[in-house]
């Protein structure tokens, strides 16, 4: 019985991954039937998923605490714009890289420290931060003079605009996150804190310290995401990374992460979710569904995935 239950649990745990494989298979099959350039498609999918995958991987730490950060997209935008300006001022891409990471981590830390000083739930400060950052985007663009964009010369970033570089960034960062999440005390403490904050407190875990660590990890991801955004499309405008905030939330949930955080949190959710979303979009495009219907189909599949992934939790009638 136990074995059977374990097996069932594993199947449910693997649902998001199975979903990704299924989407991958559908993409390949449809791609072959419909005469799609599948090899280029894989590259496209990596390009389209990478920023969300990176930022969402860091955000898993925040979600594990049962919290969320609504300002991630705006933070990425501000970091990217500032990184772009830093490049234009110094002509050094590494400086731009450091500025992206540094600023994103600072914004993130500011969120969590502010929350701990005022004893507020962190997401409250992130809501305020969202407005501030959105305003900052406009200010930065205006500061830059031309009024509508901050452009890094595309030749400067071209050498880095390769799938290899981007995957290396994702893999290195993912490994760092996975290491912290699975192989250190921090990951354990965060899961307990997300699942039962009272019990965590009575086990000597400091919620403030954990929140600060989680936000710092997420900040690194935002910075990396911002830098990869610059590399991908060096013309930055007021709308740069504007959809990232929402995409991150969707990716995390799509990847099988429980919104309430806790023990079932998984570091791989973000990557699985981000890639699944992109495969789904690509499939919609192959089928040439217009964006309205496409969105609805996506929404339906999203609900289905979440339903299956949480099925076990909701349907549990425990023997007593």
């Amino acid at each position: 019985m136990m074995r059977k239950q374990n097996f069932k649990q594993q199947v449910i745990n693997l649902t998001p991954f199975m979903g990704l494989l299924l989407l991958f298979a559908v993409f390949m099959v449809l791609g072959t039937i419909k005469d799609i350039n599948v090899a280029y498609g894989m590259k496209t999918i990596v390009n389209q998923s990478i920023v969300v995958a990176i930022i969402a991987t860091g955000a898993v730490f925040i979600y594990t605490l049962g919290s969320f950060d609504i300002s991630l997209g705006a933070s990425a935008a501000v970091s990217a714009l500032t990184g772009g300006m830093a490049y234009n001022a110094t002509g050094n891409l590494f400086v731009a890289f450091l500025v992206c990471i540094g600023l994103a981590v600072m914004i993130s830390l500011f969120n969590s420290i502010l929350a701990s000083v005022f004893n507020l739930p962190v997401f409250v400060t992130t809501i305020a931060m969202l407005s501030v950052l959105n305003a900052l985007v406009l200010v930065l663009i205006r500061l830059n003079g031309t009024g509508d964009e901050i452009a890094v010369p595309s030749a400067a970033v071209k050498p880095l605009d390769t799938i290899g570089f981007k995957l290396v960034v994702l893999i290195v960062y993912w490994c760092l996150c996975a290491f912290v999440f699975c192989f250190t005390k921090i990951g354990r403490k965060q899961k307990l804190l997300g699942g039962n904050p009272i019990c965590a407190k009575l086990t000597g875990i400091s919620d403030k310290k954990m929140a600060i660590i989680a936000f710092a990890m997420a900040g690194i991801g935002v910075g990396l995401g911002a830098f990869v955004s610059i590399v991908y499309a060096p013309t930055l405008t007021r709308n740069t990374a504007s959809s990232v905030g929402m995409d991150v939330i969707i990716a995390i949930v799509f990847g099988g992460m429980p919104v309430s955080g806790g023990a079932r949190s998984k570091i791989q959710s973000a990557v699985i979710g981000a890639f699944s979303m992109t495969f789904l979009s690509q499939i919609m495009t192959i089928l040439n569904l217009n964006s309205g219907i496409g969105q609805m189909v996506k929404a339906a599949i999203f609900l289905l995935v979440v339903f299956v992934a949480t099925f076990n939790q909701r349907n549990k009638m425990l023997p007593r």
Binding site: T44, T235, S281
Partner: protein
Amino acid sequence: MKKVLALMLCFALTIGCLTGCGKAPAGEEAPAEGQNETTEEQEGAQAPENEDPGVELDMSKTVKIGVLVSDSTTAESLAFQSYYKDYIASNYNVELVYSDELTDAAGEKSAIDTFITNNCKAVISFSSFDRMAQLEQCAGAGIYYAVATGTLTDDEYAQVKDNEYYVGAIGPSLEIEFQTGYDMAKYYLDQGKTRFAIFGGAIPYYTEMHIYRAAGMLTAMVEAGGGDYQGASDKDAIIGKLFETASIETGSIGSVEILGYVGGYDMDDAWFAKCGQMAQTEGLEVILAVGNGSDFFGSSIAGTDVKIASVDAYATAYGEAMEGGMLDYLAGKFSASIGPIFIATYSATLGAPIRTEDGCALALSQGYWVATSAEQFNEFYAVDSSTEAPAYTKNMLDTLLGTDYATFEAFVSKYSFEEIQTMQ
């Protein structure tokens, strides 16, 4: 165990992605091969073309063309979309693949990646965050690229005109934009109106077409009023002034007065209040808008004698505004104006690109239809919105397939309503 399994699967995915990239060079070769084919076809097509324009092209294969959409809500974009979706797509053997509504350069790049994946042979772009990057990306993949509306700046054109994958742009040149503003102001100045307000649209964002339209208005006022605008008295000086301030100063230009100015699209309460205030300025006779004016000022002037003039497209809303007295003058794009660029693009994918005598990409200008009464509007609108017989019908467009530059240019240059009617 579970974790190990999950990690292994993740690893497998990564490998999958990597192999995907491993294949990428091969993938790049594929379009490159296609490229060669195109060139061959091109040569094959071009040779007879010179002898006999209007050569038979092989249209048996469905050609996929990607369309970059930057806006899917305004009247203009809806009218354009409808022409492509309802008329072009059903009359030509093409599959138009639309992007989502794009909001930044990254979105453009990502959408073009998707088009390349889907083996689109060309991209027609309504989105202008980074046109140079769009073209570079398309050319890199060996597919054609065309600007659907608007034009490139001279500098930009100089950079790309020799690029074989750049089809070109057909739209109101800045010269035409200037003229549109000039004509609009002159229309009222000739009626003896002297008290104006201006809506500057995207002037604060340094959008060229809006600056040129406004410069046209101001130039007309300088000519009629006999003064100068902030010390500038000719066209170039006025344009320079506007680029310097990204705004319009109120005040007198000789006998003409600018009583109010609003710019930007902030769309917040304060902004709307400012719009309302401006429309109700005492003594105001005309509001000249570089873009859509009736939506922002129409309700405020209801029941007064104030006239509104706008630049946009032929959409029902404007007809209603005209009938309701909320719009007096409309310089509007007609939706079929994007027909010729489609043909130029399609023709290129079929191996018969249309280039200038020097082999450069197209840079043609096309202006607006001006309606000054509801009747006139309705007449234009009936043609513009028709899905059976739009302004440019299939028969008319077919004459352009694989044609020479002179024929194409002549066709495009006769864009007024009357001229098009006589062509049919």
